[in-house]
Subunit: 209 residues, 2 copies
């Protein structure tokens, strides 16, 4: 039984790799279920053995990829640091990871991938928030942060960095993005009850570009 479950999961993950690539390359909106099945080179019955619909397989592919990213981040996270340094570190890893995937990002940002992009952002917020919340709680214990709701504060910070700072979504022009980032930095500092300038590296990063 254990063996069969493992086989099932392995095969499912292997299909999810391919499904991710299909959506990224072809655009979520323009991809029909028939096209997915044809490209996977499996029977319709085999597809339904693993997934229930186009939307469900998209959600599963996104979940798998975001889990992978969050594992990667957790691996690079030096837990011995103080909370403000840990948070700085995790934000920098996030920015780094995003800019490493610029080709993929371009495809995700195309207008035929709006739904897929939105699903991806929601998944990132939900899966990354507990990691951020743990660091925020550490900061509260260390007396450098003052936060009543660590998980929800983490979710809100991630919502702003994913949605509000998304230049394509809001069609912000290059000239205004610096003030958005600086304002976000101030809100981040206030929402964590941190000292001024704790996160001033964020706006500095943007000015350097």
């Amino acid at each position: 039984m254990a063996r069969t479950n493992k086989d099932f999961n392995n095969k499912r993950n292997e299909l999810l790799e391919k499904i991710w690539n299909i959506f990224i390359t072809n655009g979520y909106e323009d991809t029909t279920l028939s096209f997915i099945i044809r490209t996977l080179n499996i029977s319709r019955g085999a597809f339904y053995h693993y997934f229930s619909s186009k939307e469900e397989c998209a959600d599963a592919a996104i979940e798998m990829y975001v889990k992978r990213w969050s594992k990667e981040i957790t691996k690079q996270d030096v837990k011995e640091l103080k909370a403000d340094e840990r948070l700085t570190q995790i934000i920098l890893i996030g920015i780094q990871t995003a800019s490493n995937n610029s080709e993929q990002n371009e495809k995700i940002n195309s207008s035929s991938n709006a739904i897929f992009h939105q699903k991806l952002m929601v998944s990132i917020i939900k899966q990354f928030a507990p990691i951020y919340a743990e660091i925020i709680s550490q900061g509260v214990n260390e007396g450098i942060f003052n936060v009543t709701y660590p998980l929800e504060t983490a979710e809100m910070i991630l919502t702003l960095s994913s949605f509000y700072l998304d230049i394509d979504l809001f069609k912000w022009n290059e000239g205004t993005i610096t003030s958005k980032v600086t304002a976000f930095e101030e809100l981040l500092t206030r929402s964590l009850g941190a000292e001024n300038n704790t996160f001033s590296f964020i706006s500095k990063l943007f000015e350097l570009r």
Copy 2:
């Protein structure tokens, strides 16, 4: 010439009313340009006289409706109030307006309207932010708020209330939404540099439901 422009705009607005209803009823993703043209009962040439694409006519219809709502809000906004009372008032009008349109909301929240819904939220954030920003600036002048970036702070508050507090988008369950709202209320208070409990009416509203 002025006459012609007016005729053009009137006809265009009349078409936009119908286009809004088509998208709401039929779902943005499932609506083809041919279907729009057929339902409007005009020629393809006439459509292209007023609009350049499906996406452009959707954006224009959304802009017209959100402009209408923001005018409605401005009309109900009692400018003689102090800034915290004005902000309270405007948030309440927003909640009221949203719950008045529950039937329409249900259709906008359906999965075949994800892109349309996202476009609508972005438009609301961009068009409502200047109204909020003006009130925030008044509060700064009155010494009850402490805000460095009124417009951006308004945009971030609206991003959180539109995206983060959207139960359907995040699939939050009913049990957790109260803590999200309470956390949002705290972040709102801190981001405005307002006194504690200035906005406690928000979580009270949600507890009453």
